[in-house]
């Protein structure tokens, strides 16, 4: 037998033990309630957590390095695979960052279609959160009910892109294509039923004594702490920070829509639950307005150096053929500079920081992952709580390891 492997962080080296009679418990990376390959190492005094550390990197694939060798539009497919539950939101953040670098504007119809896709993604992502969070705390029914709704959304993505989870449909310069026929009927049908179906699930939990026992006053985070930790999105809002990037720094025509930003009072697990539920209902409002007010016209930028010409033009126009060929072989060259664009993703602020050196590939391509920044809260909130509460907190922070490790 050879010497034991040393490359895995051992429980003893991750932190200094603080007590004499404490027990160190390892959770994950293959644990159902850590939502992926997250590993937590906890020091316990009885059942109470003394300290807790996250060990990550099990899903690290070096996407930021890979992107430096790819053309800008080819980086899009990597963005879906980061936050795979909110793929359209990540696509949108990347597209906005590259467009900011290029200085390019997308027509209104394109912006509205982006909003539709991003909001559907947000609902789908929250559906997964609601199902798994409830499952972690012992409620099995919501998982099955809410995943039925998520299936409807994935079916709609399939109508758009032919792919259910990784559409890569939002690209710099616009979208890969217009809204498919019959999509509006499907979306209308979905919007008609969804809020009712959501309320069925909500009513299973919201006044449920077991649910309230497990979530109220658990994992309380103050607004100031949340901001210092870099928490954004529903977590910050549940802690009373009335800030939503869609309202404060509107992008992609969000200023056209009338919606509310739900804000919590105490910042506990229960508030995060309520905020996300309310957010899904607000997303439905946005979807309704975007679908009803969808403008006619082009959905791609008219700059043929950035967006491809319509397929029909390729048969008749030599210029279009050249543009098409050059776009997909060489790509475009943004001016030298750096740009950051952030969007309100389902888990918080989701942004891309892109540095261009004037060539057709990013010099540096960085994702600001919302879950990665939110993850640190686990180490803060877990301390002094029972280990069972840690499960509730992980669920309420809503992490995606694909985005954390990249």
């Amino acid at each position: 037998m050879s010497a034991p492997h040393t490359f895995m962080p051992t429980t003893e080296t991750v932190f200094q033990r603080t007590g004499e009679n404490t027990m160190i418990v390892n959770m994950g990376p293959q644990h159902p309630s850590t939502h992926g390959v997250l590993r937590l190492i906890c020091e316990l005094e009885g059942e109470v957590i003394v300290q807790c550390k996250c060990v990550i990197g099990y899903l690290h694939t070096g996407m930021e390095k890979e992107a430096e060798y790819q053309q800008y539009h080819k980086c899009t497919v990597m963005t879906d695979r980061m936050d795979y539950l909110n793929a359209n939101g990540t696509n949108l953040a990347h597209a906005l960052a590259v467009e900011k670098l290029l200085g390019c504007e997308v027509p209104k119809r394109g912006q509205y279609l982006r909003v539709i896709l991003a909001e559907l993604s947000r609902i789908a992502s929250h559906c997964v959160w609601l199902g798994t969070h409830a499952l972690d705390l012992g409620a099995m029914t919501p998982f099955f009910y809410i995943f039925t709704q998520r299936e409807h959304i994935l079916d709609m993505f399939e109508m758009f892109a032919g792919v259910r989870m990784m559409p890569s449909w939002i690209v710099p310069g616009g979208l890969r294509g217009d809204m498919p026929d019959g999509f509006d009927i499907k979306l209308n049908a979905f919007l008609k039923d969804f809020v009712g179906e959501l309320e069925v699930v909500e009513n299973l939990l919201v006044e449920n004594p077991i649910w309230k026992e497990r979530t109220i006053d658990v994992g309380v985070l103050s607004g100031k702490e949340a901001l210092e930790l870099g928490c954004s999105g529903p977590i910050a809002r549940a802690s009373g920070v009335a800030w939503d990037l869609r309202k404060s720094n509107p992008y992609s025509s969000y200023e056209d829509f009338d919606f509310l930003v739900p804000v919590g009072r105490t910042g506990d697990v229960y508030d995060r639950f309520l905020v996300r539920i309310a957010e899904m209902k607000e997303s439905c409002k946005i979807l309704r307005q975007a679908l009803d007010g969808l403008p006619e016209g082009d959905w791609n930028t008219s700059d043929r150096k950035i967006a491809p010409p319509p397929r029909a033009e390729l048969d008749s126009s030599m210029e279009s053929l050249i543009h098409h060929f050059k776009l997909y072989t060489e790509g475009y060259r943004p001016p030298v500079g750096e740009a950051y664009a952030g969007v309100e993703g389902s888990k918080g602020e989701l942004g891309f920081y892109v540095i261009s050196d004037g060539t057709n590939r990013p010099y540096r391509w960085h994702c600001r992952p919302s879950s990665f920044m939110n993850l640190k809260t686990l180490e803060v909130l877990g301390v002094g709580r029972l280990i069972a509460d840690l499960i509730a907190i992980i669920g309420s922070v809503d992490i995606v390891l694909g985005e954390i490790d990249r």
């Binding site: 950051y340 050196d357 590939r361 990665f372």
Partner: protein
Amino acid sequence: MPNPMLGEERLEVVKVRVALGEDLIKVKTFRDDLFLCVARERVVDALRVLKEDPDLGYDYFCECLGADYSAWTHERDLPGRFEVIYNLMSTRWFSRVFVKVGVDDGQTVPTAKGLFLGAEYPEREINDLYGVVFEGNEQTQRFLLPDDWVGYPLRKEYPLGGEDVLFDRGEHGPAIEDVSMPHAGESFDGKTGSQGVSGR
């Protein structure tokens, strides 16, 4: 909401200049984003001014990231091989400011962990992928990479291909002889490379 201004200048620039003086090396605006390039030793002071000044209110720590400028051919904002870029947002003005510092191999950047607890993770990530050391947030272990990984993958000289990904005991990392070879995809000029590619 408009950005905070003082006359013609952004208020952030004035406040940071008062606090840092000569250590505010350069102020840059690109696509309406404000970049403050400050001296490495004073970065925490700059962040503190931005965070704690009631007129600015940059209390949201968005992130920080690293960048390796060793293959950069254009004008630089700062000396030093690497840059660390802090991204802050004001919950009062909802405006953004980017604070940049330059750092060379063998130099350290003071950690912002004491000011913003959320800086711990991104700093560890930069340390892991670039080898930039943050004073006060030193690492004994790898963060995103396996513990026996050799080298810093986001450095420009580090090859894309050629890693041995068997996770058995031993020294892993890229094949050293492939260091200067481009990736088997396309070259940086947008032409398809055909020879001298890295990878096994």
